[in-house]
């Protein structure tokens, strides 16, 4: 996860800067990073607020973007043990990156890897947001540093280790194509959720 520290922190800072310029104040963006802890949805909500959109529009966009977490949350459920409170707090460390690195194949995850990665990313994201809110772009433009390429590279690397069976490769190709086709025509968030729905094909008997 270590290479994702600069990426996560600088994008956190970029979010902080955007949120301040959107008129969200200084504390709300930090509180949002600590509670929502999901980059794309936060960027989307801040953009809607900046453009003077309604509460409903901002919440709708962010909730739609985060709906994939519901599917991921149900899928990882069997790996979580212990008290309800512990399961609750550990589940909050679920983000795309921690979920992706914790995959062990066959639809299962290693809970310790997910929790460890989440604990690593959380302070980077929240701390980065605080830096951005108070210090502006001290960490530099994430795009100039090429950090926007770090995330697709991470997901690609993990995808290739997972796509071993014919079913998995077929699901990857279908998911990628669905996302690509919907990208120019559907609102943000829809392409990824629609791609996740591809797995419903797996409900049929093999």
């Amino acid at each position: 996860m270590s290479p994702l520290v600069p990426a996560s922190a600088t994008f956190g800072a970029a979010y902080g800067v955007l949120a301040v310029t959107a008129g969200m104040g200084v504390f709300a963006p930090i509180v949002m990073s600590a509670t929502t802890f999901a980059g794309t949805a936060q960027f989307a909500a801040a953009s809607v607020i900046r453009d003077g959109g309604s509460v409903l529009a901002a919440v709708g966009a962010a909730v739609f973007l985060n709906a994939r977490y519901l599917a991921m949350s149900v899928a990882i459920a069997p790996a979580f043990q212990g008290s309800r409170l512990r399961r609750f707090f550990e589940s909050q460390l679920l983000v795309d990156e921690s979920w992706a690195v914790s995959q062990v194949g066959g639809g299962r995850i290693d809970r310790r890897v997910l929790v460890g990665a989440g604990l690593f990313l959380f302070p980077c994201w929240v701390g980065g947001t605080a830096l951005g809110v108070f210090g502006g772009d001290v960490l530099g433009d994430p795009k100039r540093l090429g950090l926007d390429a770090a995330f697709p590279a991470l997901f690609l690397g993990l995808l290739i280790t997972l796509a071993v069976s014919r079913r998995a490769i077929a699901a990857a190709v279908a998911g990628g194509l669905v996302a690509l086709v919907l990208l120019p025509i559907a609102p943000a968030g829809v392409p990824v959720i629609a791609a996740a729905a591809v797995c419903l094909v797996g409900l049929r008997r093999r």
């Binding site: 949350s73 149900v74 069997p78 699901a171 419903l200």
Partner: protein
Amino acid sequence: MSTTWLVVLFVGAFTIAFKAAGPVLLGGRELPARMTDAFELLAPALLAALVVTQAVGGKESIVLDKRLVGVGAALVAIRLRAPLIVVIVIAAVATALARAL
């Protein structure tokens, strides 16, 4: 309450509930076999969609930019069996260099 705080409150509540739903309500229990079969496909389908949206995604559009240089370099690094950490660093450096040129 201001627009901002209402958004922070509602988005936070929804996201926390989404993330907690599985582990809190179903935690530790095995899912039905057919569901496990379906979720086996969730990871590759979702990861592929994330690769696509992160690599060429724009504001309701497909944007081909220097990110693709990084993703291409990452693909080469993956082919050469580089560790994931190296793959990520190579992608960022390649994109940064392409932008600097």
